[in-house]
Symmetry: C2
Subunit: 510 residues, 2 copies
């Protein structure tokens, strides 16, 4: 990150103190956490408020920050409902903080255009909202955070939330919430937990209100100020996928097999291993191959960490994984596992990945298998923009897991369509190369030179281990050199590393 | 609380801002919570420290505050171990903050006498430590808090803990802790949770260290800085009682029966009732009678709140109680229930009873059945000192449950031995009469005049309802007037109400 750019960033109100990324473990906390509001509720107080009165109840005003979680993904109806009301009331200049923004939030575009929302703090953005950001139409650059980084920002007070609106699949009249029951069950509410703990006002928005205390509680009544009942918080079809399945794509299967063998031969596959497999087909297939190897060796994983999908929770159920630390669920099977399996723990985004903690669960990882939209010769990974520089993804937990894990494997095809996925320099650096150990593609495997130990081990096998430059050259030969993307001069997005430093910026698109 | 006394209190360093109790819901929070320390632990860091190095590791110094939980009760060996080391190292003027102090802590007397510990912040004190306090030998008065009040004090920063030493029956190498496994299993660690969350440094002291992540987690690794392994943290014989049984004492049975009938006829016994029954024989027997009535009426309790004993967890198991919110366990059956029953929730002292919260679980109570050492004509309750003014108990959750519950029943025998338990004025006011609705004795039942509604209902039954003055007179007639206790002029203890105000003081004993 060049000094001139940081100086430009520091001139933007709200970003005066931002500094440049200087290494994955350089920035350290220096002060105490933000004091969360002291709440006070008399016995017998009714927390239920009509939807139409809630903005008055929370005293929402121009310029405030509101927050949401994204566990309802493409099924979410809550953000639209609340923002439409804010717009109708003429409240303006709202900062929208969401743990991420899915495509369904295209519906928010009118409220971006009419000045209701003028700032964004999120993990990802895409579709029309991504486009709006890249047209540089916000009042200040959008801030893209990792899941752990968002929790850190909330806890340290860097991200102050005035009102958190929490989509609650199940909620009792006392304010206890869970995500595992109700018609819009989405599983773990891990990404809403920091908001519930630190926001000045916390509103549960629910279509699953019950009169008696919930038997399963994700967010406790001690943190919830108001409850709003609505017809529907989300469309189940958009919330969870049916079930993420093992890949049938032949080149993905090749990659998965390589990943499993890298794990096997790198010396980390042992009884008591702790791992994270992402939700994509490659990672899930790799987990399948690893499971077979574990079966053969008669060993078990001590824990799984990260987003849960049915394949992994089946491993939990069958004893291949002993315990699971879960900030989000991808499918119905995983949700059901969270509700019923006592070894399946719901954890907050902070517990999962916040670097400023006495050990987030990502620090337990022996190995993390992650994806990428692009990777470069320095092993830097992009998961936020596509080959054309367009916003399509989110840092999510990628940089967090990569930093925490002893071995970080990034798996991706060498080409997607006719485009090379290994570049000289990625469009957007999201996960720094210092935290990436092995790149696995369908054409070969490259080990980060910082991990000579892994290189020596893998070089002894029949795996196609080569320099990253060789993979790059191969990609270039097959796909040609990618055309340079064209951007404007305006910074419309900041990519924050998990520790709060700025690791890259997004320029506006012409 | 008279003004002159408050002025005297305000001259004591540390108590300058204390104000007098003015009503159960008068003092309100005005500021934000204390910011807890921002922690930072690199992946792969080993948290294990030798016992003999731990005081250096946490940089313990003269005048600091150390904290402990009391869930190991009379079996606790941790406080002694740590304090002995502090003494041996010559560190002085330590403030001892414990969620309570059991008789086993008599072993600490030498460290009080040699100036290692010169201040105490606790719920209860008894035995030799109680005597030391009442001989006015501390540097400043001991502060007696309720369970909810202690959590409030920690969260608001009023009670700043430098180092929390948490006795951990089970602990993994990453710092996750539970109280339900291990040879010194004590059940819920609810009273240690605020310390773990807010102390500057958190040390797990364990005799149940395991290499893989625990499958049940009470306090997460995100809060634990160091782990110290010791041979034994406690003697199981002193931790939990075998099983608290239904009373066989005839006058206790009369009281229990009255309590159950008060609950039945006061209109609060309905499907979905939420209750707290203390751990004494009277309360448990009353729960038994209530269960029979529930069975007859075909109704269920929505929740149980408060300390759990086997009788109540059996009701949970059998479906008479649907869910249980549990800050502490009294016997092995309750511990086992916590470990295995997913409807049995471990909650922190703060969630249980902190008045400065968006609803502690005590606020859900329809009825709380509580005990007393004494009660007076204004319905004020003493649970801290005995008839001779000696420290023998603790406020515990008594004032919290009484304030939260819609109907608070205090049950006690009219006489104990030859002493009257209903007095003109209790020796020490711990729970204010405004929060006590019904007094049940073996000689009759009195309803607080503030609850005309309950009086009308109960007056229609065959229950022996009478004025509290009539009960008082009866006690006097049977036992004679109690002799006045004699005290010195020095304030050696402050009794804090849950909101932080001072409700009474303890004078030194001649």
């Amino acid at each position: 990150m060049n000094k001139v750019i940081i100086e430009r960033i520091n001139k933007i109100p709200g970003f005066e103190k931002k500094i440049a990324y200087a290494g994955p473990f350089v920035a350290k906390p220096t002060k105490r956490m933000a004091g969360r509001p002291v709440k006070y509720v008399l016995p017998g107080k009714n927390k239920l408020v009509d939807l139409k009165s809630i903005l008055d109840a929370v005293e929402l005003k121009d310029g405030m920050t509101i927050s949401f979680h994204h566990a309802l993904r493409n099924g979410d109806l809550v953000i639209q409902k609340i923002v439409a009301m804010i717009s109708a009331k003429g409240i303006r200049d709202i900062m929208l903080s969401s743990s991420s923004l899915s495509l369904v939030q295209d519906a928010l575009l009118p409220y971006f255009e009419n000045g209701t929302i003028t700032a964004v703090d999120t993990s990802g953005a895409r579709g029309k909202i991504g486009r709006f950001i890249q047209m540089n139409k916000l009042k200040k650059p959008a801030l893209f955070r990792t899941h752990g980084g968002r929790a850190r920002a909330i806890e340290t007070g860097e991200l102050h939330i005035d009102v958190a609106f929490i989509a609650a699949p199940a909620c009792d009249v006392f304010g206890n919430i869970n995500g595992v029951q109700g018609k819009a069950a989405c599983g773990s509410l891990g990404y809403a937990m920091p908001d519930a703990e630190y926001a000045d006002k916390v509103v549960a928005v629910t279509d699953g209100l019950v009169r008696e205390p919930l038997e399963y509680i994700s967010i406790p009544q001690t943190q919830v100020d108001y409850i709003v009942e609505v017809d529907s918080i989300g469309d189940p079809a958009g919330i969870a996928t049916g079930s993420i399945r093992v890949s049938k794509n032949p080149s993905e299967l090749v990659i998965s097999k390589y990943v499993a063998e890298v794990i096997k031969y790198s010396g980390i596959l042992r009884d008591g291993i702790i791992f994270q497999f992402g939700s994509g087909g490659i990672a899930i297939s790799a987990a399948g191959f690893v499971q077979k190897e574990m079966q053969k060796q008669g060993i078990k994983a001590a824990a799984g960490v990260g987003g849960a999908s049915g394949f992994l929770t089946e491993m939990l159920e069958n004893g291949y994984i002993k315990t699971f630390f879960d900030p989000q669920d991808f499918d119905f099977k995983a949700i059901e596992s969270l509700r019923t399996n006592s070894r399946h723990h719901e954890i907050s985004a902070s517990a999962y990945a916040n670097p400023f903690s006495a050990n987030p669960y990502v620090n337990l990882l022996d190995v993390a298998v992650l994806s990428a939209t692009e990777i470069d010769l320095d092993f830097n990974v992009n998961v936020l923009t596509d080959s054309y520089g367009k916003l399509i993804g989110a840092p999510g937990g990628h940089p967090d897991a990569a930093a925490g894990s002893k071995v970080t494997i990034v798996a991706l095809p060498l080409l997607r369509g006719r485009l090379p996925m290994i570049l000289e320099r990625v469009q957007t650096v999201v996960t720094p190369g210092e935290t990436v150990d092995v790149v696995v593609t369908d054409y070969g495997i490259a080990v980060n030179p910082r991990r000579r130990d892994l290189y020596e081990r893998l070089k002894k096998t029949l795996l196609p281990v080569m320099e990253i430059e060789a993979l790059y050259t191969k990609a270039q030969r097959l796909a040609g050199t990618a055309a340079e993307n064209e951007f404007g001069e305006n910074i419309c997005g900041l990519v924050e590393y998990r520790d709060g430093t700025i690791i890259d910026v997004i320029y506006d698109m012409l």
